[in-house]
């Protein structure tokens, strides 16, 4: 049983890992005809199924809330309502958002419900970014000061009024604020990002190797 439950899956990971890796060095057509093309097509389909798991989990979790009558269980009904409305509309409009120039019901849902809700939630960030800035841009250490100064250049430099003000106050430097922000983006922040990136790359390579060799197998779950 151990063989079926553990060793064969680990062997599959190893074999598919090495084969996919090899396709990078073998010119496309060969790898493509025999292996990679099938893989690409299949993985794309398999990935679509992972979503079904989310759906089941969602229904299960809210079903439980309603069944156990936990605090605020009544609101869970709205999850089902929202879901059903969308799916019914999708079936009615056959998955299309527009028919010619007119919105279908699914398109209508997207525009006035889904889009509104996402945009509103996204817009809440505007408030939070201000309150965060207000709370945390207090210069207590040199580090905080550097963070704050870098942010300040960009906050001012992004709007025309800031440009006007900069030109009034700092005209003697002969440097425009966009030159300052460009330099920050092109030099120190590239350096920092590249440092992080190389670190992450090394980490990613090592983790991928651990996966291929079956050392890292959290994703498989415990026995």
């Amino acid at each position: 049983m151990m063989l079926i439950k553990r060793y064969i899956p680990l062997a599959i990971v190893f074999v598919f890992g090495i084969m996919t890796l090899a396709t990078y060095y073998i010119p496309p057509k060969l790898a493509q005809d025999y292996y990679l093309e099938t893989m690409n097509k299949w993985i794309n389909i398999v990935a679509a199924f992972a979503f079904l798991l989310a759906l089941l989990s969602l229904f299960y979790s809210h079903y439980n809330k309603i069944k156990r009558k936990v605090d605020g269980w009544g609101y869970s009904i709205f999850v089902y309502i929202g879901f059903l409305v969308v799916v019914v509309c999708a079936i009615k409009s056959e998955g299309q958002l527009m028919t010619g120039p007119a919105l279908t019901s699914l398109g209508w849902i997207f525009r006035f419900l889904y889009n509104t809700l996402s945009a509103s939630m996204f817009a809440v960030l505007a408030y939070y970014i201000v309150s965060t800035a207000f709370r945390s841009f207090r210069i207590k250490t040199l580090q905080a000061f550097v963070l704050f100064m870098a942010a300040l250049f960009f906050i001012i430099g992004k709007v025309p009024l800031g440009n006007v003000l900069w030109n009034k106050l700092f005209f003697w430097t002969n440097v425009s604020i966009s030159q300052v922000t460009d330099w920050i983006i092109n030099v120190p922040s590239v350096a920092a990002k590249r440092g992080i990136m190389i670190g992450i790359a090394v980490g990613a390579i090592v983790t991928s190797l651990k996966i291929i060799f079956g050392i890292e197998r959290q994703y498989m779950g415990k026995d």
Partner: protein, 393 residues
């Protein structure tokens, strides 16, 4: 033939056709020697056909001062970047549709200068699929070296003597859980919106194990809202295991992990609501995050939770940095497993990661030194080697 006129004509010297190397068998390669008459005023027209006798299709046309062998960007170990050769790759599939095996393709070139025209002899070649992309040799060597060192490190994982530097965010876990226990409020552990194949999520489940173990010891309560159902199933097992190891399997509850939504902002909205209502004493935000990072962290900060964040999506780090008490930056998160568990295998792979970074530093320093020297003293070869090794093909 008039000799003078002949001098004006653009002859094609050593004109040859061959299979384009290292490709998937889709292109043919034509080469001929440059002529002193090559100039912007002269043009080459390239014709191809499946027959020797006719059916010519014009496949390329360019002025004679363009397309040299040195313009084909391949590394020195795979290609001679000569300036005295014209070289063009002809994508046959574009012109002849699906290619057949063992089929001969014919080429000729007409060179035009002013009113003079010269038609070359007809050359032919087959195209074939190549087994190995020699240009990517540098990449392969890197990968093989990494493979080798990896296997060596893993098989020589030592139990003792591996130092690991302090990571403040991880040391603060105890403090956060202790505080939650004192206040009698729950702990929120948010694994982010990554899938189980992203490294930050893998690291996050590891830290969750540690956190859950301590929560079990202190008899506090942890809640883990999920974005990805697969991550949820893994986390359930991790938490159950942690409670078991802490000797408190009775306090484990199946609904500690629960699914919220796999849509970014609806997830954030819902978790924000929960945090406001339950006012956790500690929030862990560890994993892969996008724009919802600030939505979650700011609400956590508002309810006064002690917050420990960690992510490798660096563009969200500024927001964690400003709203959270401790932040694990990028690779610090990957180190968490080794740091918390002190497991020899993990410690030695962490050391392997350090070697990787050390290699980059050495490569940059030596690379710059060598390049500067080679420019100063005209070491063309060193120059070329360096330039080609650190390049993707």
């Amino acid at each position: 033939m008039n000799l003078n006129a002949a001098a004006e004509i653009l002859f094609l010297d050593e004109f040859s056709a061959a299979d384009m190397p290292y490709d998937a068998g889709e292109e043919a390669l034509l080469k001929w020697k440059t002529s002193p008459l090559d100039s912007a005023q002269a043009t080459y027209q390239v014709f191809a056909s499946t027959m020797q006798t006719g059916g010519w299709i014009k496949v390329d046309e360019f002025s004679a001062d363009k397309k040299f062998a040195s313009d084909i960007k391949l590394p020195f170990w795979a290609w001679k970047a000569r300036k005295d050769l014209h070289a063009v790759a002809i994508p046959l599939e574009t012109h002849f549709g699906k290619l057949e095996k063992n089929k001969e393709y014919f080429f000729k070139i007409i060179s035009i200068k002013g009113r003079q025209k010269f038609e070359s002899e007809i050359v032919s070649t087959q195209v074939k699929r190549n087994w190995f992309n020699f240009a990517r040799l540098n990449n392969l060597v890197f990968v093989l070296v990494i493979f080798g060192i990896f296997i060596w490190t893993v098989s020589h994982a030592k139990r003792k003597g591996l130092f690991i530097r302090r990571i403040a965010g991880l040391d603060a876990i105890d403090e956060a859980i202790g505080r939650a226990t004192e206040m009698g409020r729950p702990i929120y552990y948010i694994t982010g919106i990554g899938s189980m194949s992203s490294i930050s999520t893998i690291a996050s489940t590891f830290i969750l194990g540690e956190v859950a173990g301590k929560v079990a010891q202190y008899d506090s309560y942890v809640k883990v809202p999920h974005y990805n159902p697969i991550v949820m199933t893994v986390c359930k097992e991790v938490v159950r295991q942690a409670y078991l190891q802490a000797g408190r399997p009775d306090s484990y509850r199946e609904d500690m992990n629960f699914f919220v939504s796999s849509d970014q902002f609806s997830y954030a909205a819902s978790v924000d609501g929960m945090i406001t209502r339950e006012k956790p004493a500690a929030c862990f935000l560890i994993g892969h995050f996008m724009a919802e990072s600030l939505l979650l962290a700011e609400v956590g900060a508002t309810v006064g939770a002690i917050q420990i964040a960690g992510t490798d999506s660096e563009h969200q780090l500024p927001f964690f940095f400003t709203t959270c008490d401790y932040t694990l930056i990028g690779e610090e998160l990957y180190a968490a497993g080794a740091y918390l568990s002190k497991e020899p295998m993990l410690l030695s792979t962490l050391r392997l990661q350090d070697y990787g970074k050390f290699f980059v530093i050495v490569a940059v320093v030596i690379g710059i030194a060598l390049m500067t020297l080679s420019v100063q003293y005209k070491w063309d070869l060193t120059d070329k080697i360096l330039e080609n090794i650190f390049k993707t093909y």
